[in-house]
Amino acid sequence: MNARGTSRLRAFAARLRGLLRGTRHDEQFDDEIQEHLRLLEDRFAAEGMSRGEAALTARRQFGNTTRLREDHRALQTLPSIESLWQDVRYALRTLRRNPGFSILAVLVLSLGIGANTAVFTVADTVLFKPLAFADPDRIVSFGSVWPTRGTRSSGVSLPDAMDWRAGSSAFSTLTYYRRSRRAVIVGDAAYFADVVRTSPEFFKLLGVAPLIGRFFAPDEDSGARSVVISHDFWRTRMAQNPDVLNTTVQIDNRAMVVIGILPQGFSYPHGADLWHLTDAVKKEYQEPRATVSWSVLARLTDGVTIEQAQAQLTPIAERLEQQYPTTNAGRSVDVARLQDFMTANAKPTLFILMAAVGVVLMIACANLATVLLAKATARTNEVAVRAALGAGRGRIVAQLLTENAVLALLGGAFGALIGALGSPALLTLAPLDFPRLAEVGIDSRVFVFTLAVSVVTTVLFGLAPAMLTSRVDLNETLKRGMSRSSVGGMGRLSRVFVIGEIALSVVLVTAAGLLIRSFVALNTVELGFKPDHVLVLDVSIPGESARAALFYRELLADLSTAPGVVAAGASLGMPGRVASGGSYWIDKLPDKFTLNPFAGVYSIMMPGTLRALGIPLTRGREFNAGDTADAPKVAMINETLARREFGDQDPIGHTIIAGYDQEGPMTIVGIIGDVRQSSPLQLPNAEVLMAYEQHLRATGTGLRVLVRTQGPPEALESLVRTMVRARSTSVPMRFSTLEQSLAEYSAAPRFRTILVSGFGLIALCLAVAGIYGVLTYLVGQRTREIGLRMALGATSGTIVRMVIREGAIAAAVGMVLGVLGAVSVTRLLGTMLFQVQPYDPLTYAGGLVFLSVVTFVACYIPASRAARIDPLKALHVD
């Protein structure tokens, strides 16, 4: 910095110091000057002058003290900050003088800003905040994708993953894991817990440190039977015992040794309780290549981007397709940042929420702007006087903007409060599978956001009115009030704001309408089974499968005759929770075949399950007590499979081979109706149903017992519990209902629909209030003109029509713009819509009709008021 720059900087710093020092300095300077004058006086007096003369001469020699004092004061301050401070004080005084308006404005602003803050708090943590791992942007996850079929899966094949790691240099560490529900016994109590089988580098890759103990050693294998426990599990199931290390828990009847406890807040995968090493360690290549059930994470090597990693992986996937055509045909791989992977489901919902609250805030700002424009009429005298006294246009605009900024900042302050209270409310409504909900909290980012929003709202609602208000023709105003051109300008701008508001609310209302229709469709879709009145019991029998088969057979026999039970069955998966799937072949295994994990759903069940779930049997018979392990293998198929493979022919009697296990061909004995197996949103897939007792080895001993009840399902819980306990004392049990587990599929749609509809309604109210306000203002301004017209013979009907036409034109233009906007925006709703098109004319029409009716009422009131104007009184108004 050159000398001139340095001296400027020093002057600025000195002024700043002076500003902060206050008025004491001025008094001291005064004393200094007075002392100097006194000394001069004494000198002249000593030379022989009279006291009076000496004083005069001293003053003359000294010069202008007032000027000096002013200069001193001027150097002690920063003029810009002084004027800003003045403006703020003036703004507060002005706002205090209009309490009604000020309170309303602050209220509207704080609600608008508060809603935005609440949504942002949730969205920021769930979507944007970096994950709580070491260097989280370098952690990636993999997904399998079949481009030609259009399917994708978040699971990958483990031998594939090993090939990716071996064939590319993009990853420095790689870990794989698989989670499942397992029976865990701690001490005397048995629970169902989320257990994760993982490779040794899991925790090291994520970069988390243990709270107590250690994690797996890099070369440790599953033989060591080590297990790591989550903080929540340790707290709730193990009483947070500090001496937990080296104690044992049983997972599936294998004793595992506790080696470490995770810190609080660590939850990856979401909700997991225990982690142990998988048997696949060191045998990764021996896992079936067809099974795409593994989750794989990797850390990118330094300097490698995701795009580069993807570019390395795609050719490897192609090579694997050639090498293993049976399993890998058509399969490729997708790599994405872990954070993007986790938030992919929540993103659309949160984006639409943020858009909705943003729109509401904009409409609120437009409303405020129109109110400010209306009030500008009353302030022209004040502005004119200021301008006449020498205030430049910029200064006046600055002062008006400061007023609006004070409003906005007050609104922002209360808004932050509302946001802080509102985000917990949002959390309770939010679907449980949103990632990272536990991490949501108010932090500095939220405050910065609130401040930024306040600033933006100031500009949005304050700038245009400020500029218009400051543009007054001094001559006209000081003589006789507002000039006609100014009213015209303000009226035009108000109309523009109103059109904007209507357009925005059309967009929001249309989006809400589409979401409502999707939600209704979701709740009324034909599922293929009856989800009500079904009690679900997760249970896992220790010991060997023969014992388990006997257990289930006897339990179901007892249950089906118990009071209050309509039917009872047991199945590996259930609708909404597909347990297994894969390929099938009719009549014989072809010489060359490919394995497709999504060709069909495998359902393994006990007799009676169909009746328990309310699934119709359309042809043949279902499983019965005769379908034992020694009896001929039988299977059922669903209508989709029958249509797909047999067309019009009768499938009964044909055989089917499923890729589930090695039990060989099964005779098709029955056909069931189609069921939406994966979720209510997805169409039914082909299904192969097999009898549990004929596939014991592959299925294991854990099934879901499904009981259709006459009354509420929960009422039978204790009965079932007693029955199970009577047969096995230490079996873990978990009860729920089928409706509860299906509710998670409608959780996100419900969340979206309720909130967007709510915001749409608010937007509508605000827009209608806006049009009402503007029309009232315009009628007020044109009172004289209306009086004149009536005096000249216009009927009240003419006046009413005139006013309504004003409003109708603005509303019509707004609606047209709104429809155009809606058409381009609803396209983005994409996957959120179910069984309804983004351009669904019924929804659009419904929204417009609703809006028109409400707008008409809003226009009619000022119009009828205009018609009741007394022409005599109106023409006297000056």
Partner: protein, 147 residues
């Protein structure tokens, strides 16, 4: 049409003309003042720095007396301007101030030069000497054609 200032007194007239004209006038005045005072204040700053450097810490009255003495009444200025200089010199950190007691036991503010001030004094003195030597040389030049 802008009605000139003199005719505005007492009548309503074109407010725009009035305010604009006022602004013009005050602007011009400030400009002239600025030029005149800049030059004079600059020299005063230098003289004050030299005084403080030579005589050590002084209060405002003492500085004014010394300047009166040295300039032998050639420079006649309002004594108050000394304080304007002192304010500026303080802002630039070339002098510091401290409250103390004067010769006749009264409270007075004493000003002293800082090392930075001494450097500035040196620089400014060199500048002055350079300028004055150039001017001296220019003034010794004879007009062309004259002996």
């Amino acid at each position: 049409m802008d009605i000139p200032y003199e005719h505005m007194v007492g009548s309503y007239g074109t407010s725009k003309g009035l305010t604009d004209h006022l602004k013009e006038l005050t602007k011009a005045e400030d400009a002239v003042d600025a030029k005149k005072s800049d030059l004079l204040q600059g020299t005063l700053d230098l003289m004050i720095l030299q005084t403080l450097h030579a005589l050590g810490p002084l209060h405002g009255f003492g500085i004014a007396r010394r300047l009166e003495q040295v300039s032998r009444d050639v420079l006649r200025l309002n004594e108050g301007t000394v304080y304007t200089s002192l304010m500026r010199l303080q802002q630039q950190r070339w002098i510091t101030s401290e409250w103390g007691t004067s010769e006749n036991n009264r409270k007075a503010k004493f000003y002293a030069i800082t090392p930075r001030g001494r450097t500035q004094l040196e620089t400014e003195t060199k500048n002055w000497e350079r300028i004055s030597s150039v001017i001296r040389r220019v003034l010794r030049l004879q007009p062309e054609g004259e002996p």
